[in-house]
């Protein structure tokens, strides 16, 4: 039986349908505007495509190692739910020799619907390890000899936290900590960057018996999401 299932599964996807916003902080006083497109992979007319969820993001290089950012979700907005993210990303360590860095990104997800004005707040923490294999992201200068193109790959975990202890019909909330692992690549110049991320969502949610045909060749639970982001970087004035 599939009662409500596709609908319910969409909920899951709307709730976690975004990549890590920023893995590496911007340079101090840099600004960035980015557009993200992507979602879970589905089979569609013999093709595998991502559901086209969208988000628009703005970021500002607040400190040398810290960038603050905000995002809105136009897809959720179209369904009457204002979903906004406010967060920061901080580089907590960088190994100069190996060019491997670790960043942590706490985010506050705010959701408000226009139908009954229900509000939900979800803290989220992304932890990523990245390897800067091209150029030098760590140097905050345009030093002579720097390659114009930089690139890094990353591997990380998105952690969502449910603050409510109960849910509908006075049931106990079973999980207050939800995990979604991700892997991605980011490359580009000082002005434009592009990233592609693959995320595994809903690790423990059955993906069978769903009207939407999710593409997941490795498991009967969860969905694989693919996200493409374009960043326009505005240099510090």
């Amino acid at each position: 039986m599939r009662i409500f299932y596709c609908f319910a599964f969409l909920v899951l996807l709307l709730a976690s349908c975004a990549p890590s916003r920023y893995v590496v902080p911007l340079k101090k006083k840099e600004q960035s505007l980015s557009i993200n497109l992507g979602g879970p992979l589905i089979n569609f007319h013999n093709l595998v495509i991502p559901v086209p969820f969208t988000s628009i993001n703005y970021a500002y290089g607040w400190k040398k190692n810290t960038t603050v950012f905000g995002a809105v979700h136009p897809t959720a907005l179209a369904y009457g739910v204002g979903q906004m993210e406010l967060g920061l990303v901080r580089r907590v360590h960088y190994f100069e020799g190996s060019k491997i860095g670790i960043s942590v990104s706490p985010v506050l997800n705010l959701m408000l619907d226009r139908w009954e004005w229900n509000l939900r707040v979800y803290p989220q923490v992304d932890v990523n390890v990245y390897w800067n294999f091209l150029g030098d992201l760590a140097r905050h200068c345009d030093c002579p000899g720097d390659k114009k193109t930089t690139a890094y790959v990353y591997l990380g975990l998105t952690n969502w936290f449910e603050l409510n202890k109960t849910r509908a019909n006075n049931q106990a909330q079973p999980n207050n900590w939800l995990l979604a692992p991700q892997v991605g690549i980011n490359m580009g110049t000082a002005s434009w960057k592009y990233s592609l991320e693959v995320k595994y969502m809903g690790l423990f949610t059955n993906n069978n018996d769903v009207v939407v045909s999710y593409f997941n060749p490795i498991s009967t639970t969860g969905a694989i999401g693919a996200y493409f982001t374009v960043y326009k970087i505005f240099a510090a004035k």
Partner: protein, 298 residues
């Protein structure tokens, strides 16, 4: 960022899309095929010839169901299995099917019920909610209630009395079956309630899938809440629960509904290893119809 926020607020206030229509797995067809249906079914009765009965007792019906929201009338399809000549004396089971395709898909289940207590001992009525099968319109929550009420009115017009009527809801069907006992819309009130793998509420289903306690209003206007409605049901109640229902976890659905029942009599049958759609086949068809019979004649 400020521009983005202002734009978001405007978009939020202008938005009107909902996911409600994604909730239903209805299928439109051009004709019913009953025993000759070749589409997918959860089980069939080909190997149980003793369950067959004369097709003279199978009556295809078209009923008019009025919409309480837009005041339109929809033609909805129904089937009555039984003898019109004795309908006033017979006990009738009004079967509210689940959220799949149309009545052909549920035909083996209706046939089984027509064999409870012996061949055609009880009359069985089943309808396709609007948007399912040959029924006009699109499915809505209000439509579920109104279409089942239309079936009740048809039975009343045929002379069926409340004491001779039992309502049975499977999965999605547990919503109209329970709601119409809790908040009756017809003077014909079923005297017993059977629920097979019911769900607690639309909101809890969303939360089961999302794993987050998101409000239902984020996604749907549907307010189905069987776990609340059952609290005011007084009629005797039987729960048939698949022990290994992977779709509706028993602990957060069937068990909650059963726990919330505060009426005069209840009994529960949990079938170990049965999944959402395999209760009858896992339990054994004759064990199933025997349990239903015992409850009906109690």
């Amino acid at each position: 960022m400020r521009t983005l926020l202002l734009l978001s607020i405007v978009l939020l206030l202008q938005s009107c899309l909902r996911l409600d229509s994604n909730m239903y797995n209805n299928q439109k067809i051009t004709a019913y095929h009953w025993d000759d249906y070749q589409g997918h079914v959860d089980f069939n009765l080909d190997t149980v010839p003793s369950c067959n009965f004369s097709f003279a007792l199978v009556h295809e019906l078209t009923l008019l169901s009025k919409d309480t929201v837009d005041d339109k009338e929809y033609k909805i399809s129904a089937v009555y299995i039984g003898d019109y000549a004795t309908i006033q004396q017979d006990t009738v089971i009004l079967y509210c099917h689940g959220n799949r395709d149309h009545m052909d898909f549920y035909w083996p289940r209706a046939k089984l019920l027509a064999n409870v207590g012996g061949k055609n001992r009880f009359g069985v009525m089943m309808i396709d909610y609007r948007g399912f099968g040959l029924s006009e319109g699109d499915p809505t929550e209000e439509g579920l209630y109104q279409d089942v009420t239309t079936a009740l009115e048809w039975l009343k017009a045929k002379g069926v009395s409340s004491s001779h009527l039992v309502i049975y809801g499977f999965s999605l069907g547990s919503a109209p079956a329970t709601k119409l006992l809790a908040q009756p819309r017809s003077t014909l009130m079923p005297s017993k309630l059977i629920l097979e793998n019911p769900f607690s509420s639309a909101e809890l289903m969303v939360q089961d899938a999302a794993q987050l306690a998101l409000p239902g209003s984020f996604f749907t206007n549907v307010k189905v809440n069987v776990a609340e409605a059952i609290k005011t049901v007084q009629q005797p109640f039987m729960l048939l629960q698949s022990g290994d229902d992977k779709f509706l976890k028993p602990a957060s659905h069937g068990e909650v509904v059963y726990k919330n029942y505060q009426g005069s009599y209840s009994e529960k049958h949990v079938v170990p290893n049965a999944d959402h759609s395999t209760l009858q086949t896992t339990w054994g068809l004759f064990n199933y119809i025997k349990a239903v019979e015992v409850f009906l004649v109690k």
